[in-house]
Each structure stands twice: as C-alpha cells, then as structure tokens.
C-alpha cells in the first residue's frame, strides 16, 4: 500500500465527501491504467492488428499507425473516454476542496511570507508562453498560470493534490520522487560534484525542488516557473516545511539571472510541457546560466526510441492526444544530444543516462 500524502499547513483539507470523491477518482485511474489498459494490448494483438494486416498487407510500422488503427476500436474508445473523464473528475473533485480552503490558505500564505527564510519574486509583466495559453495542460482548469482571484494560489494547491492522485501516491508522500531520482543519480555519477548554486526549472508546486535543499546542504536553491499561483503556493509550502528556496516567476527560455551563475540546473518532466522552439531556447539558456564545469540535468518520459515495444510507445502518446500534453508526441522523437549540442554543449560532455524507472536523463556539462 502506498503512503498517504504528507500533511502540512498548506495541504488542502477535504471534507468526508470530497475525500471520498478524490479517492474514487484515484481508484478508477488505477483500474483503468492496469487491468483495462492491459486489455487494450490484447485487443490490439487479437483484433485490431490482424484486421490492419489484412487491409494494408503489412504490419504496423510505428506508434502513429497503431493510434490510427486503435482509434475506431470500441474497447479502446471506451478506455480512452473513461480515462479522460476520470482525469476531468479528478480536477473537479480537488477544486471542490480548494474553493472552500482558499481563505485559510491565503491567510497562512501571508503569515509564512512575512517570516520567510526563502523568497518569492513575481513578475506580473511576464508574457505567458503559447504552450500554456493554447490549452490547459493535463486538463487542469486554468492551467498553472491563471490568477482566478487576488494573490491566488489555487493552481498550486490544486496541482499538489492532483500530482499525488495522478501518481496514485507512487511519487511519495511529498510527491518528490523525481527530485530524489535526479539528485540521487547526480550523486551516483558525480560523487565529488558539490554545487553551490542550483536552479530548478518549471518547479510548479516545488515538490522536487525541496529535495535539493537537503541533498546539497551547502547550496543556494533557486526555482522558476511561469505561473504566479503555483509559485505563491510553492513558496508557502517550502516555508511551512522549513526549506530555504528562492522562487521567481520567469520563463525558463529567458530568465533574468546572470551569465555563469549556476553550478547545477535541473528539470523534472518539464520538456514535454513546452514546445519545439522553447526546448531549444531552454537548453541555450542553461548553457548561458551555467558556470564553466557546471551541469544541466533534465528528466522526462521515455523517447520513442527508448521503448522496446512499439505498443508501449503508442501508450505513452495517450497523454498528448487526450490529456493536453500536446508536445509529448513531437518531443518523443527529438534527439536530445543534438539539441544540447546546438545549444553549445560539446558532444563529449553530453550523455543520456537511464534512471531506475527507465526514463532518460539528459546530462550536459559546460566545458570548463
């Protein structure tokens, strides 16, 4: 059994029925993503693929052909519609709680902010990039960036609860497993590396960010995101958990930090929520911000070429077509090494490491 979500001042407190609703959404997702999803593979192997071969005279070549073939299958349709609906119901069940918790959260925010050990710097003039405004990523109403009221922090409160539910608690009680995976891999690969200044890009509610405060106690930890309401929440959450982090509202493509000002830049499943040009810009920005000898380390979902089975690769694309994680499908074909090289990292200083969950970790070291 997974651990319960950790409780702290900024954690929303659902009523009995709200909790029951949230837990049911979680239960539906688990069932769909295990039993029902494995059934889609049987349907493909036994029904859809044989019919496809008969009609086209050849086997499916890639994940895109599987998607086109599966899209008219009744089992897959109901699976997709159910997973989509459960995602919508999940956010709705969380918003029920956040709506009545907002006054309390805003009061707590003020108290924590007034005695802060870290900091929060917002930029009301920041232009929110098109990949956030075009559609609400993973169907979270209002995205990460929309203030629905003054001094809003609803997006962060909604996201923090949603992240735990989406992962069915597998990201840990603080939903910070990715921070542990990345920092753990950095320490395993570079035991002598001791960064003094760290930047986490696309931090949202700061779950992974806080890991670096403990993993590198000598370091000053900074974090950026484009969304003000997620940053207000992240700041208050870090404060109540007693972790010193400097949060700033900025686009990871073009931040206001000085050249050569960080030893380590990390991101945790940020890439797939950006866009084609943005990805190139983010890597160039990492190169600009890193001190000579510094490192960028980015974790994201498996690339198409990392999947042993083409059907598994097709399943990873579900989020792109059904959950507004649109860029996934393009990103999963990109060559990270080439992208990093274009951004100025030397080929010999770029590597793709595999982390325990089998996801790719892009490491780029700036020439000393």
């Amino acid at each position: 059994m997974t651990e319960r979500q950790a409780q702290h001042t900024m954690m929303i407190q659902p009523t009995h029925d709200e909790r029951a609703r949230q837990e049911l959404c979680q239960a539906m997702r688990v069932h769909l993503l295990t039993d029902v999803q494995s059934g889609t593979k049987s349907v493909f192997n036994h029904r859809v693929h044989p019919a496809y071969k008969k009609e086209h005279g050849h086997e499916v070549k890639d994940r895109h052909e599987i998607r086109r073939a599966m899209s008219s299958d009744p089992y897959y349709r109901v699976y997709s519609a159910s997973l989509r609906s459960s995602q919508e119901l999940m956010w709705d069940s969380i918003i029920d709680t956040v709506e009545h918790e907002m006054p309390r959260l805003q009061t707590e925010f003020k108290k924590l902010h007034n005695q802060a050990i870290g900091s929060l710097t917002l930029d009301p003039d920041l232009e929110i990039p098109r990949y956030h405004t075009a559609a609400d990523i993973h169907l979270q109403p209002n995205g990460y960036h929309t203030d629905v009221t003054e001094n809003d922090l609803s997006a962060g409160a909604i996201f923090d609860r949603g992240l735990y539910m989406y992962g069915d608690g597998k990201f840990g009680p603080y939903s910070d497993a990715m921070g542990h995976i990345v920092s753990g891999q950095i320490k395993a690969l570079y035991p002598d590396f001791s960064p003094k200044r760290i930047l986490d890009m696309g931090c949202t509610s700061g779950n992974s960010t806080l890991v670096y405060v403990d993993a590198f106690p000598e370091a000053e930890v900074h974090a950026v995101d484009v969304g003000a309401p997620v940053l207000r929440y992240a700041h208050a959450r870090a404060e109540t958990l007693g972790k010193t982090v400097h949060f700033a509202q900025a686009n990871a493509e073009h931040t206001n930090y000085q050249d050569n000002s960080f030893d380590l830049i990390v991101s945790h499943i940020l890439f797939h929520e950006t866009g084609r040009t943005a990805l190139t810009n983010i890597m160039s920005e990492c190169h600009r911000l890193l001190r000579p000898g510094g490192m960028m380390v980015h974790l994201d979902i498996p690339q198409d070429r990392h999947c042993d089975d083409v059907y598994d690769s097709f399943l990873w694309d579900w989020e792109a077509y059904n959950n507004n994680e649109t860029f996934c499908v393009v990103m999963r074909s990109l060559d990270y090494e080439e992208e990093a090289a274009t951004a100025g990292f030397e080929h010999d200083n770029i590597s793709i490491e595999s982390v325990p969950v089998g996801w790719p970790l892009l490491v780029g070291k700036k020439a000393a």
């Binding site: 009995h16 029951a20 609703r21 539906m28 918003i95 098109r130 979270q140 629905v148 059904n322």
Partner: protein
C-alpha cells in the same frame, strides 16, 4: 464553511475535448455514468462512515433511520445537496457550453502541434 468567503474557480479546462464515440451524445452519456459511479461510491463511503461512528458511540439507530422525519432546515440542506449532485453529474453540458461561449477554436491535434511549435 462560510459561503461568502468561497472563491469560485472556473471548472472547464481550455482546449477542445476529443470525441470518442460516433454520436457525441454517447460521450455525454458516458461521462454521466462515470460521474454517477463516483457519486455512488461517495454515498457508500458516507453510509459506511456513519455506521462506524454510530457503532463506536454504541447508538442503535436502524429504527430511527427508517422513521426519519427531516426538519425544514434538514430539507433545505438536502435539496441544496441534491442540486449540486445533479449539476456535477451533468458537468459535461456546462463544459461544452463554456467552450462554445469562449469560442474555443476547433483545432485539430496537428494544428495545435503546429501552433506551439512555431
């Protein structure tokens, strides 16, 4: 909970919802079933919680529940709860109406990719 303090958060995610079935009405019926599944589970959890609370307090209640007479205030609260319940089950209509009102462009997936990849 003080309703005056309650901040309303818009519930409809931006971006056109895929159509999964040949008849769009089926998409709505399917969503309503999913929401009913959720609400039935909530109700069962609530009855379960009630039974456990009453049992812990050693209250015998079967007859009381069978002959329960709501007061006017009880009735008003129950009516309000039922209205919220129905609105939740029919949320798919509110979503479509919001999309129509907002004039969310009927972008197909390829066009969205193109738009964010400029």
């Amino acid at each position: 909970m003080a309703d005056a303090d309650r901040i309303e958060i818009p519930r409809s995610a931006k971006g056109k919802r895929p159509q999964y079935f040949d008849d769009p009405a089926s998409d709505k019926l399917h969503f309503m079933i999913m929401a009913l599944v959720e609400e039935l589970s909530v109700t069962r959890d609530r009855v379960d919680a009630l039974e456990r609370v009453l049992e812990r307090k050693s209250v015998s209640t079967m007859a009381e529940v069978d002959h329960f007479e709501p007061t006017e205030e009880d009735e008003a609260q129950r009516t309000q709860r039922r209205a919220a319940y129905v609105a939740k089950i029919m949320k798919c209509f509110a979503d479509e109406a919001a999309q129509v009102e907002r004039k969310d462009p009927a972008l197909d997936f390829e066009k969205v990719v193109e738009a964010i990849s400029e």
